[in-house]
């Protein structure tokens, strides 16, 4: 029966139908729903791993054991998993293994716009790229066939618009799959002697995959009525091209993005007057087309920055675009903000108040960088706050060249003003190794773990500190305090971020301490279902002196109306952080 399915749910459906039995992933927009949807099938064992490297290695182990396996991540997650990726390219698989990676052109929810297709070429692993939900099911199933036929992991590449678009699919039945594990050291032990023999196998495999790509139904040519232009495209770019031109020009729609069907591309180029490559992000297909000695129009017209759209395609082909009317008024932006009642707010306010330099990390709390709090100094990647802090503090303590003194921002018992801020899930992902470095190489650093007891930004996924697993069952709960002490941090303390005075004391004391320390700022995310909210705060307008002290925390529930503070009852969770800022007692906590 036909139904609407999200692209990511369709990948999960493909996994189910193909007999996939093992899924290990780390959440990351826009990839998260693949694993969440897979977990809903009883037949699939699915888990959140602490990071993408662990997830991929686990999925590889599962495929060795003879079960079709999957590992999902966002584009930057593949950087974390790149180490095993390049070597399992050599070992190949036993049962099929798919690595799902979702790019985020336009950076809706990402820190960079990297193009994951380069990984396919670099690691010599074939990559399939569906353009809608029906293809997401079909390509997932095809990927397992390819994986086993060619003895290789297969990359399945999604992007935001395919991952987060629903389109019509017709689900099928599941076919079970299992095979036995057989010991094969020459294939699976990648020490130099064996790896040297595997590399030529990989090159032969790629050549065989090129031959496969020539005739594979994954790559198709759709006829056009005019051969003035011929377009090579894939994924969501294909949809925009078809939206604009329909059947006007012939289109080569690539479903297998690596390796590319070279002869097929050469033949297609010969059949049209001008060859155009339409692809989002980098020049990947275009570069290969040029390597084949073919002239084409590509990145000179179609930017490597941001997402495309049908109007963008129209404009680049010199078509006209008629936008609707605009108003003669400035429409204020509506950026995402930290939620009302967010436990991170009180901590960030305290950091700002103490003029602390804060190395930030990846998660909801990155929103602490936005005014009016503007509490963060850096955001790079998962875990970088902790390791970056170590380097910052070490460098700040080095003598300046030609002088006997240290830099202005120097460490020392009283001068230290720099901290790392990292979430609970991100800390487990890759903050812990940075903390080991702080302990081992003895930097006088303070790491703040903002523990909201969930992976927040990606929509509430469990992690090793929450005591629950992906399926919602009770699981081992990593105790952050014990973990930090175990790596050698003696000063570990917990504060409630709703308590501004306690936060202030903790930050002042730990910055003054002459050894590494960890502050765990602990309170569950206000959006969690089990978190009970207090009654909204009430403003005593007579007491409000319009000083706007309560506005400093950037809470979306508070605004100034006719010069007086006003609390939005539908948003306020009664956390009371604003009341602690009011010197005139104008904000009152309601009864529970």
């Amino acid at each position: 029966m036909k139904t609407l399915m999200l692209g990511n749910e369709a990948v999960a459906r493909g996994l189910f139908e193909a007999g996939c039995a093992f899924v290990s992933s780390y959440p990351g927009t826009p990839s998260t729903e693949i694993t969440e949807a897979a977990a809903k099938y009883q037949e699939i064992y699915a888990e959140w791993a602490p990071n993408e490297k662990v997830a991929l290695e686990s999925a590889f182990g599962a495929c060795l054991a003879g079960r079709r396996s999957f590992c999902g991540m966002k584009h930057v997650g593949l950087n974390v998993a790149a180490d095993p990726l390049f070597t399992i390219a050599y070992t190949g698989v036993n049962a099929g293994l798919i690595i799902g990676v979702a790019d985020d052109p336009g950076m809706h929810s990402s820190q960079n716009e990297q193009d994951s297709r380069h990984y396919a070429r670099a690691s010599k692993i074939p990559m399939l790229e569906p353009a809608d939900s029906a293809e997401a099911i079909a390509f997932t199933k095809a990927a397992y066939e390819l994986s086993e036929q060619f003895d290789t992991p297969v990359l399945l590449k999604m992007c935001t618009r395919v991952a987060h678009s629903q389109s019509v699919v017709e689900p099928g039945e599941r076919t079970e799959f299992a095979k036995a594990y057989e010991k094969n050291p020459a294939k699976y032990i990648m020490m130099p002697g064996n790896a040297k023999r595997r590399h030529p196998v990989v090159e032969e495999r790629t050549a065989a995959l090129v031959a496969y790509a020539e005739t594979s139904p994954l790559n198709r040519v759709e006829a056009g009525t005019s051969n003035e232009i011929g377009i090579i495209t894939s994924s969501t770019s294909y949809q925009y091209v078809k939206e604009v031109f329909g059947d006007k020009y012939p289109v080569m729609k690539l479903g297998m993005i690596w390796p590319l069907p070279e002869q097929k591309i050469i033949d297609f180029a010969k059949s049209v007057r001008t060859l155009v490559v339409v692809e989002e992000l980098d020049s990947f297909i275009e570069s290969h087309v040029r390597d084949l000695g073919l002239a084409c129009v590509g990145k000179s017209k179609f930017s490597c920055i941001g997402e495309f759209s049908q109007n963008f395609i129209r404009e680049q082909f010199d078509g006209t675009v008629t936008a609707g009317k605009t108003l003669d008024v400035n429409i204020p932006a509506r950026p995402p903000v930290m939620c009302a009642g967010c436990p991170h707010r009180g901590l960030f306010y305290t950091l700002v108040k103490n003029k602390v330099t804060a190395m930030g990390d990846i998660g909801c709390y990155t929103l602490g960088a936005v005014p009016p709090l503007a509490a963060l100094d850096t955001t790079i990647c998962m875990g970088a706050s902790v390791s970056g802090l170590h380097g910052f503090n070490k460098a700040s303590s080095l003598p300046l060249p030609g002088a006997g003194s240290t830099a202005d921002s120097a460490v020392g018992a009283t001068g230290r003003r720099t901290v790392a801020v990292i979430g609970d899930s991100t800390f487990m992902h890759s903050g812990i190794t940075g903390l080991v470095n702080i302990a081992y190489n003895d930097s006088n650093s303070t790491v703040i773990i903002v523990d909201n007891s969930i992976t927040g930004m990606t929509g509430h996924q469990q992690n090793p500190t929450t005591g629950m697993n992906l399926k919602g069952d009770p699981a081992a709960k990593i105790d952050l305090e014990t973990l930090c002490r175990a790596v050698g941090i003696r000063r570990v303390r917990v504060v409630d971020p709703y308590d501004l005075a306690a936060c202030d004391t903790a930050i002042k004391e730990e910055l003054a301490a002459n050894e590494p320390s960890v502050i765990i700022s602990r309170r569950p995310c206000a959006l969690l279902k089990y978190v009970k909210h207090d009654k909204p705060l009430a403003v005593d307008a007579d007491k409000c002196k319009s000083c706007k002290a309560c506005m400093k925390i950037g809470c979306p529930a508070i605004s100034m109306v006719n010069g007086k503070a006003k609390v939005d009852n539908t948003l306020c969770t009664g956390c009371g952080v604003c009341a602690q800022l009011c010197k005139f007692d104008a904000l009152k906590k309601g009864d529970k």
């Binding site: 809706h108 809608d132 949809q239 759209s309 109007n311 005014p371």
Partner: protein
Amino acid sequence: MQTKNIMIVGVGGQGSLLASKLLGRLLLTRGYDIKVSEVHGMSQRGGSVVTYVRFGDKVYSPIIDKGEADFIVSFELLEAARYTEYLRPDGRIITNTQQINPMPVITGAATYPEALVEQMQQKEIAIDAIDALTLAEEAGSAKAVNLVLLGRLSKYFDFTEEEWMQAIEKSVPPKFLELNRKAFALGAQN
């Protein structure tokens, strides 16, 4: 049939995903090709959110571009004003008159524009503005704004009441069914 385009816009957390899900179910029963495109993640945190619903004989692009929307269904007034460029010349805006201040307005860095409905009318933009929040509260919950707006949208399509009711039944939990039916009816009437 030429592809029809409905944009649903609002503020992250207002419940626009349910509206698009319900529309998808309704359209599926008529056998259309459909694409519904959402954005998850960071922008959901109180930011401006957009969902695209497209249906017809064959739908390629998952998104709606400037000048293409037949309808913009807006959960918040400022968001309706933000996206007028996306409307076709013969398109129509259906908007909730509720105002939610964005952070730049809250901090005083910007002001919430006045008389937005009138400004849109002056530009000869077809606009259907309703106090969906009050109607939703009348139906029993402020959260039913989405059903009030869908009720209003239903006036412009030839789907039968039965078709709408089936889609509503499939999309909301049984214990909220009556409330949502009522909200839908209030949106269609007022």
